[in-house]
């Protein structure tokens, strides 16, 4: 039975390891995208500065050339930003999928652990059943020897009710 726990643990460890990789890829993709965005912001800011200076009367002839270069850079950057954003979207989707796989693996691990506990508790309860019955038989025998008319032990109402309910349920299920 512990094989189920071991298999679930392996799946969980694998899923967590994969998530670490997808999270790293996402961080890298975001860094690339952020780099392009920063470059665009810097170029746009420089362009705005030149335009403002020209409006203020600055007639530097090199400015027109610089604005042309900035516009060309911005134009070339546009598809690169598109690719970078697409890369971020793909990385996000992969990371999200990996995170969901971890959640599923955690649920499977919890189920495997609960199933193992249930099996062991059932075996333990069967042992206690036999042990309690032997004890009660011994108690009856010793009671007879000492001439006891009343029982010196009775199960608690909770135990008696629980056992009765279990017995009835099991009988109904068998039918």
């Amino acid at each position: 039975m512990t094989d189920t726990i071991r298999a679930a643990a392996h799946a969980l460890a694998g899923a967590r390891s994969k998530t670490a990789g997808t999270a790293r890829t996402l961080t890298e993709a975001q860094a690339v995208s952020d780099g392009f965005k920063a470059r665009v912001t810097a170029l746009a800011s420089e362009r705005a500065g030149i335009v403002a200076a020209a409006r203020g009367g600055d007639r530097d002839p090199t400015h027109a050339l610089r604005v042309g270069v900035i516009d060309a850079d911005l134009q070339d950057l546009a598809p690169m930003i598109g690719d970078a954003n697409a890369g971020v979207a793909v990385a996000q989707a992969q990371n999200q999928e990996a995170v969901q796989a971890v959640v599923r693996a955690e649920q499977q691990m919890a189920m495997a652990e609960a199933a193992e506990l249930e099996a062991r508790l059932a075996a333990h309860a069967a042992k206690l059943d036999a042990l309690l019955l032997t004890t009660l038989n011994e108690l009856t025998a010793v009671g007879k020897r000492v001439g006891r008319a009343r029982p010196v032990f009775m199960p608690s109402p909770e135990l008696a009710n629980t056992l009765q309910r279990l017995h009835l349920t099991a009988t109904l299920v068998r039918r």
Partner: protein
């Protein structure tokens, strides 16, 4: 007597550096091939350039082999880490079960003599 300190060995190139080098070499190789075609069209000798391409390809193969070995090593390390984490997770889970069951053990039989008596 002064003891001369040995120079630090050159640190090995990182995987990222190797990938960048591989990309550069591939671009150089592609450019050299283009030049070969041009020289052929012009009826010129391509011998030197072809030797250069062969050398580039050998370096590309070497770097690719190093990268493949690094990838295989990383895969082995990942697998070992996963196995170790899985083992720890399973051990924790089984320990929890055993602690839970230990708390449900019945007391010893009243006629059983304790070992300390």
């Amino acid at each position: 007597m002064t003891v001369r300190k040995k120079p630090d060995p050159t640190p090995p190139a990182t995987e990222k550096q190797l990938r960048a080098a591989l990309e550069t070499l591939r671009q150089e190789s592609a450019a050299a091939r283009q030049r070969v075609l041009r020289l052929l069209a012009e009826g010129q000798n391509t011998g030197d350039l072809r030797m250069e391409i062969t050398a580039l390809e050998r370096r590309i193969e070497d770097i690719a082999a190093v990268l493949a070995a690094l990838a295989a090593e990383r895969e082995r390390e990942d697998a070992a880490n996963v196995a170790s984490s899985a083992d720890a997770l399973a051990t924790d889970a089984i320990d929890r079960l055993e602690v839970r069951l230990a708390s449900l053990q019945p007391p010893p039989h009243p006629t059983t003599k304790g070992t300390d008596q």
